[in-house]
Symmetry: D3
Amino acid sequence: MSELSSQTRIDGRALDQLREVTIKRSWLSQAEGSVLVSFGRTTVLCNASVTEGVPRWRRGSGLGWVTSEYEMLPRATNDRSPRESRRGKIGGRTHEISRLVGRSLRAVIDYKALGENTIVVDCDVLQADGGTRTASITGGFVALWDAIGWLRERGSLVGEPLTGSVQAISAGIVGGVPMLDLAYEEDSSADTDMNIVMSGSGDFIEIQGTAEGQPFDRALLGRLLDLGTKGCAELKAAQEAALGVSL
Amino acid sequence: MSELSSQTRIDGRALDQLREVTIKRSWLSQAEGSVLVSFGRTTVLCNASVTEGVPRWRRGSGLGWVTSEYEMLPRATNDRSPRESRRGKIGGRTHEISRLVGRSLRAVIDYKALGENTIVVDCDVLQADGGTRTASITGGFVALWDAIGWLRERGSLVGEPLTGSVQAISAGIVGGVPMLDLAYEEDSSADTDMNIVMSGSGDFIEIQGTAEGQPFDRALLGRLLDLGTKGCAELKAAQEAALGVSL
Amino acid sequence: MSELSSQTRIDGRALDQLREVTIKRSWLSQAEGSVLVSFGRTTVLCNASVTEGVPRWRRGSGLGWVTSEYEMLPRATNDRSPRESRRGKIGGRTHEISRLVGRSLRAVIDYKALGENTIVVDCDVLQADGGTRTASITGGFVALWDAIGWLRERGSLVGEPLTGSVQAISAGIVGGVPMLDLAYEEDSSADTDMNIVMSGSGDFIEIQGTAEGQPFDRALLGRLLDLGTKGCAELKAAQEAALGVSL
Amino acid sequence: MSELSSQTRIDGRALDQLREVTIKRSWLSQAEGSVLVSFGRTTVLCNASVTEGVPRWRRGSGLGWVTSEYEMLPRATNDRSPRESRRGKIGGRTHEISRLVGRSLRAVIDYKALGENTIVVDCDVLQADGGTRTASITGGFVALWDAIGWLRERGSLVGEPLTGSVQAISAGIVGGVPMLDLAYEEDSSADTDMNIVMSGSGDFIEIQGTAEGQPFDRALLGRLLDLGTKGCAELKAAQEAALGVSL
Amino acid sequence: MSELSSQTRIDGRALDQLREVTIKRSWLSQAEGSVLVSFGRTTVLCNASVTEGVPRWRRGSGLGWVTSEYEMLPRATNDRSPRESRRGKIGGRTHEISRLVGRSLRAVIDYKALGENTIVVDCDVLQADGGTRTASITGGFVALWDAIGWLRERGSLVGEPLTGSVQAISAGIVGGVPMLDLAYEEDSSADTDMNIVMSGSGDFIEIQGTAEGQPFDRALLGRLLDLGTKGCAELKAAQEAALGVSL
Amino acid sequence: MSELSSQTRIDGRALDQLREVTIKRSWLSQAEGSVLVSFGRTTVLCNASVTEGVPRWRRGSGLGWVTSEYEMLPRATNDRSPRESRRGKIGGRTHEISRLVGRSLRAVIDYKALGENTIVVDCDVLQADGGTRTASITGGFVALWDAIGWLRERGSLVGEPLTGSVQAISAGIVGGVPMLDLAYEEDSSADTDMNIVMSGSGDFIEIQGTAEGQPFDRALLGRLLDLGTKGCAELKAAQEAALGVSL
């Protein structure tokens, strides 16, 4: 990877710099929460849908439910991929990310305060350039916030269901150099790829680190966590700006 | 339908008036043609993807191929619908519209001039408020135009594959009154619903008319075709404005 | 298409002539309505099945339901096609025609008079030589009639559910010449193919016209509708002969 | 089972009597072999389709292939059953019978003499009243015969592929009494149900006997095999009459 | 088959000799019945699972239900086979054997005495070397016995649901010679293959005999049934030894 | 969780103590590598299958391929779960773990040295009591080792494909207390659950940590990594004992 020399990134960013982040609320008009989030060229539409009631296995418990479904449009990627609906099955990667987004959002939900309401956060990737799962979590939180606001206005909440905020970002080691928020080209040549989901309080909700090439040691892990912590703090600020509140 | 009194429409439009039409080209940066089209609140992302070569059954023929896939995001509708990818099968309506869009676009393609290239036009409905198939055809044509331009720049065409332009609009009879470009609320109470696909020359590529209530006679059919002809002419003008050419 | 010279058809028919139509009632003994219909070599078994009650989404409404499923046997066609049951999914064409047949039959049903009964009309194509969907609608109506008669005998109707009769026929432009009731060989070389569903009163229930080649203008459309109207009137006579009633 | 007293059957037949058997050849005009077979009310359409070449795993071997697919139309049964194509999977019973029919027909085929040709015998049950698998085998053999005749006329055979004929019939113990060719009502109350597939030489190709109630001993087994042997001999005569040859 | 000379088998067994049979109860600790059974190298894990209640179609009848599912691990066979779960559908053979095992076990069940309880016997083939279905039935019976014992201890039975015992073994004609309990290599070169399911009383529950090559006559059938009867008696002894009871 | 008081575990283990680990090689006789691994009651059969050649997308590259499929038998769990093969689709959890096991094993493979050979490691969970994915990785490595040995003996390797060894273990915070190798009951009440995959050199191949309850801070993360490092070192010793080599 000669073009990834030690201090220069392919798009000119500093090693610890996020791509440009935009978070547009109420992007569409029908969903209870509708957020178009982008991390550089990566663009995800996060729609939060409220339905009264909960899945069968949870009925009568007084507890609410939050879940998520993630999917990529066929031409989100550089080459068109077949639709999973046409292939008749969801791929492993799609399942895995859907589950990650759902877990991450549930980490800041008080089910009792939500009451027997269900919120589904659909994250549909319109364009993919690395970091689609972290954009989905970060934008999905804002859509979830708006859906909860919608429930609050209707008096349908038992209490205040949000116990905190959630942000997510990737970090990785490319050409031996740790860097933040990998774009697709960086990601595909990374030795180690890490996704870090944090709460607004600066603690970890989920960390997933994978050595694609060389196994990594504890020191390198520490540097990736440092980068992730910095990135999540900046994403929290972007969420605060979009929502006009202090998280 | 008392609120659909004879001359007033729910959104204040005249009976022969289209909703506001917007056609944004190069909306995303990766697809060879990427168009965000909206007819009022109905919003469809039309991405045209070029691949060299043609499906197996057409190889060696010297002829190109154009096809389309249509799908709705789960929260395109007022209430969230399950994803077809999760249900493991494509519904009848999705199949039917995908086939209609593909046929309509192929009607203005000279396969020989296209050479052995394939263009897939993905029409993903981000928000649905009636007329998603007609917006898909109208926007899909612009995405197809851009994909062909992309091939032309690379010198990959044998000739000029576009033999004309395509537009599509709905018309229907609501409360006994013929009107153009039905929004969802009008559509769901229509007696007769018609989708009209036309070429830029003013001829018919496809007409589909269905009596949901009372069967219709030849005079009413004529009035619907008049409305559709007027609407398609205006959509052609909108395509011309977006493309900066005369079609 | 030299053999399709202006006035002679491949099977010697006049341009506005139907193929031989046969409608056999009670062809099998178990279904409430069982009709074997043929348009020339095209042969469809239409079985109407009555079940008490209606689908879940309609329960308690006091309204009945009529639906249809269309499918082709694997060797209905000249070359054997794989079974859709083995491929694990229904193709787009099958879905589309099933929906068309169901809509067409529902156009002459008064749901309230039917009471909370469901009638499913299965149209299984035993042999296909063009016009399978129009034969399905025409024969399916007779099967539906017999199924309603079965309900009437049992005193299970609220009123008289049939508000009229339904017929369907194809017309098309082959080698520049409009003609009625296309056989497969004609259909596959047609410039324009039209399916016309009419009520016994001579109004349109559904029209679907597709330009496979050259877009068509309003004058040609008129000639196809004339042919279709003549054909449907003759099919109505054939239904009347089979049923021994005046529709 | 009081109505099944020792010597009288529900339809008045003798204990060792077949239902009326009809075998109509060339019932449809497109398949290479097309046979409508009925055993009483049980009616099966057996279409044999020839294709040049063999499945991939057999190519270049010089050997042909014969296989079968069995399926029931949704309203073959007294109550309508959902289509397997709509449910997206083939049921166990359908698979099991398809395999049985294929094995039975292959038992009289010399693959070398058939050359690299494939014959698929589709057995579609139009009406079911017990014995659908035995009617499928018996009628399927005649369709297979005609398909081989079609190949012979074209000079596409290497030798004479039929090494014999095949017949199949059921026998069972109902109310303690052994009887031949069970109709549905008898079958559903049988203690033991046996399907017997024989070659024209009077030997066994396949026997399947199941104790639904009481296990059966060797003496009873002998009586069922006697009945089956008698029935198959009569079916062989019916095949000979239909084919106008001595098998 | 020169190596299958008249009196010597490939593994040195006598013609009427079973492979070594082992039946290990409580092989795993969580299932109500857990049996690891092996016939030579063929190894099947039979787990019987009890659930309170019965399937919807049987509720309120007071009757219990027993069913079975059979499947092979991907590397049970000499060459790895794709998982049916990945292919998205169960193959015909898997369905057929699942149904056979279920029927065989139900033959010795008194549903009334079982009460409204369901027992599912899962037979997962860990290693396959011929006779997987007969090992599944023979081992499945022991697992079923233990599951019923578990219900008895909890006082959840209405009476004594087992009306007998079940054993199963294969026999076949290889190189013209009848032999018992075919291993895979023998089975794949057999002219006739027979599976025999018997009750402990020495009667037949199910027999399935298939001529893969030459049809077989009644005398040969008799010799195969003799072998099967001997084999089942020995398997019954093995079950008795494992259970420490007289069946 | 009163029974999880600060220093005592439900099964009496110390907080940093593994359950009993057993690794049986050549457990079955047909697969190139066949390992039965257990961590306490958790029991996984790991079969490694060698096939010559590689998937289509890798052909001609000179590189080998290693992949894995994980699945649970229906009664691996305390309550029986439906088979994924019967439901017609693989669940998200199954996909996720299959991918994790494959990635982990590939981390120690030199594809070039492997040559164009494919090794599939099937991990079928016979009994599940927590830690099925870590047992699969740890046992799967041993099966992979044996499959590579099999290739080496046949002279089918280009070089030495194993660049190291792999171990995996879980750690978690239960009732506020960090502990190693969680059993199911501990796992289901854990605040934080972590899976740690390490190389024999003591570096990280993959870490996945999820806060099920309270988000965790960097200090707690450090304690979990300490536990995991200790556990993996002990698993490496168990692998060495089973293989009779020093890894």
